[in-house]
Amino acid sequence: MLNNISLLGMAPFLNVQLLLDGLLIGALFALAAYGLALVWGVMNVKNLAQGDFVIMGGYIAVVFAENGIHPIIALPVAAIVMFAFGWLLYISIIKRVIERDLFTSLLATFGIAIVLAQALNLMFGPDVQVAESGFETLVLFDGNVTVSQAKLVAFGLASVLAVGLVTFMKKSRMGQAIRATSQDARAAKVMGIDTERVYAFTFSLNAAICGAAGVLIAMVWVIQPFFGITHSIRSFVIVTAAGFGNLPGVIMAGLGLGAMEQFSGFVLGAEFQQATVVGVLIAVLIWRQVQQNKHRQVVE
């Protein structure tokens, strides 16, 4: 471990490499986390199946790539398929948990997560897979830093998607209705907004965002049926650290988490990746508590 740290000190380009990789992958984490922030903020549903939506999108890309179609074409397809899937899930289950206590939505979506992960496992097997995109690798700084073009393309697409989402939320009627509902559902209802439809749309939109993020993750990284829970925890870390309704915060936290994972993966070893994510989660939760305790008096 100490050897690895001193290696980082000796080879400055290695830091650049890790940082770059982390930022590029972190943008994709931020995308999925933005979906979670949306559902959490508007519907007060904590979706633990978030990561499994991502993995589902990823498998759509893998299927496309295996059939000789470029995975980028899978992006709109995955978004549409996942939108429909989200709508179905909303009508059958989520609708019934919105007004219930906090734990109900958490446990119900955890159940959904188990079903999805296991179903994917039965369909595709437990092997790690990747959607071959056929992009080249760029070499920078005299061969000291390499960047695969796929990562740059994925980063670019994620940025385009994020800008599109923000514009949608600001300008379109539906986006305005979603924001109104999140501010005060009852008042929105009184003003003639069909909140039921807004909830259904929000949840489906989240599934679509996750699906798109999943396609990009399958292109630049690996997917496996049981990686979903780690992605869910990542989204929770990011949203908890940034707070919802705070898009710049979500992006910064996403990029930061991506970079942190790369560095810890290098220093501690790749097998600690999940432990790192969970460790960051616990650290964020403790930090939130310290913040809270400043505002609130407790009986000691």
Partner: protein
């Protein structure tokens, strides 16, 4: 309520006669009582106090590892023993075995309870979903970290001292596990009749108000968690010795199997009741053992579906449903006038 003593008698008769009549299923019965301990201890927090932990399995795994370390460490060099990872059988004399087991189990229970205090300090400021996710995180992280600790065999696990004599100890561990389930039940029965349960029920109903009324919520929460951890630590120590081989992800910290079963069983039977978790555990375990092998890989999908259906459509559980249906049998008095008012109030709030 239906005649209490019949219920006790039936349970005792089942616990004693079951393994005598069907000795081939003895280890299944042991796991059944383990499940009862799981769901009873989960319900202290989840049902009675309203703090839904997804990471209680942490204490089970900790108990298992602490007991193993004490058992081996008393007589051998732990690192050298674990490095063999079970390839070299070390023989323990019966005296060494039982002393190690007894001391290990006690240490396991104490360490688990102490860790509950430490983690309580971290997680009890968290409420609702943050608490559930935080505890889930602790359990997952513990499995990963144990897998990296070479002193206890790392990801490859380590084998425990073999049961002395000719038998494999199945009957011995059955009796211990049954006794543990009974003592957990009796302790909780006593606990739920005391002031303590009033305090933790108040925390469940409205934590801010409970705090306002002068209940030291943080202390109660920590004690409640230590109680679950204490019994879970013992159960982990016993189960580890029963299987004879421990390993971090599948045996000691199985977050997605045992860790979720305990939540599901308590919900199925009816959380926040004394008998609910027991009924849920027995029902779930029997259904699982009977149907599992016929589902051909779909059993985990079925488990997820069961969680969703249970949580969304049948959250009150079996005992909760019975209480709604026949409240007079449970000694609950229903004030119809108040009930009507309640309904009006909820309408108004909506």
């Amino acid at each position: 309520m239906m005649n209490k003593f019949t219920l006790y008698g039936l349970t005792l008769a089942f616990g004693i006669l079951g393994p005598i009549l069907f000795p081939a299923y003895m280890s299944q019965f042991t796991v059944l009582w383990l499940m009862v301990v799981f769901s009873l201890t989960w319900d202290i927090m989840g049902g009675q106090m309203g703090y839904n932990s997804l990471g209680n399995i942490f204490f089970f795994g900790i108990g298992m590892y602490v007991c193993a370390m004490v058992q081996v460490g008393l007589y051998y060099d732990l690192a050298a023993y674990a490095a063999h990872s079970g390839a070299v059988k070390v023989n323990f004399t019966p005296e060494q075995y039982f002393t190690g087991l007894a001391l290990g189990t006690i240490t396991a229970a104490i360490v688990a309870a102490l860790l509950a205090v430490v983690f309580g300090w971290i997680v009890f400021g968290l409420r609702g979903p943050y608490f559930a996710i935080g505890t889930l995180g602790v359990a997952i992280a513990a499995g990963e970290l144990m897998g990296a600790w070479d002193l206890v065999g790392g990801g490859g696990g380590m084998s425990l001292p073999g049961f002395p004599g000719d038998s494999d100890g199945t009957a011995f561990f059955y009796v211990l596990m049954f006794a543990l389930a009974i003592s957990t039940f009796l302790f909780l029965k006593w606990l739920y009749a005391s002031r303590f349960s009033l305090a933790i029920n108040a925390i469940r109903d409205d934590e801010e108000k409970a705090e306002g009324m002068g209940i030291q919520t943080k202390r109660y929460k920590t004690v409640a968690w230590s109680i679950s951890a204490f019994f879970l630590g013992i159960s982990g120590a016993l189960f580890g010795n029963m299987t004879g081989f421990i390993e971090p992800l599948e045996v000691a910290f199985p977050t997605v199997t045992f860790g979720i079963f305990m939540v599901l069983m308590a919900l199925l039977g009816g959380k926040g009741t004394l008998w609910g978790p027991i009924i849920g555990a027995i029902l779930f375990h029997v259904i699982k053992e009977v149907t599992w092998t016929y589902l051909l890989g779909w059993q985990w999908v079925a488990l997820g579906v069961l969680i969703v259906v249970n949580v969304v459509f049948f959250q009150q559980g079996i005992v909760g449903w019975m209480q709604d249906k026949w409240p007079e049998k449970f000694g609950i008095e229903v004030d119809t006038q108040l009930g009507a008012n309640d309904e009006q109030q909820t309408e108004a709030v909506k």
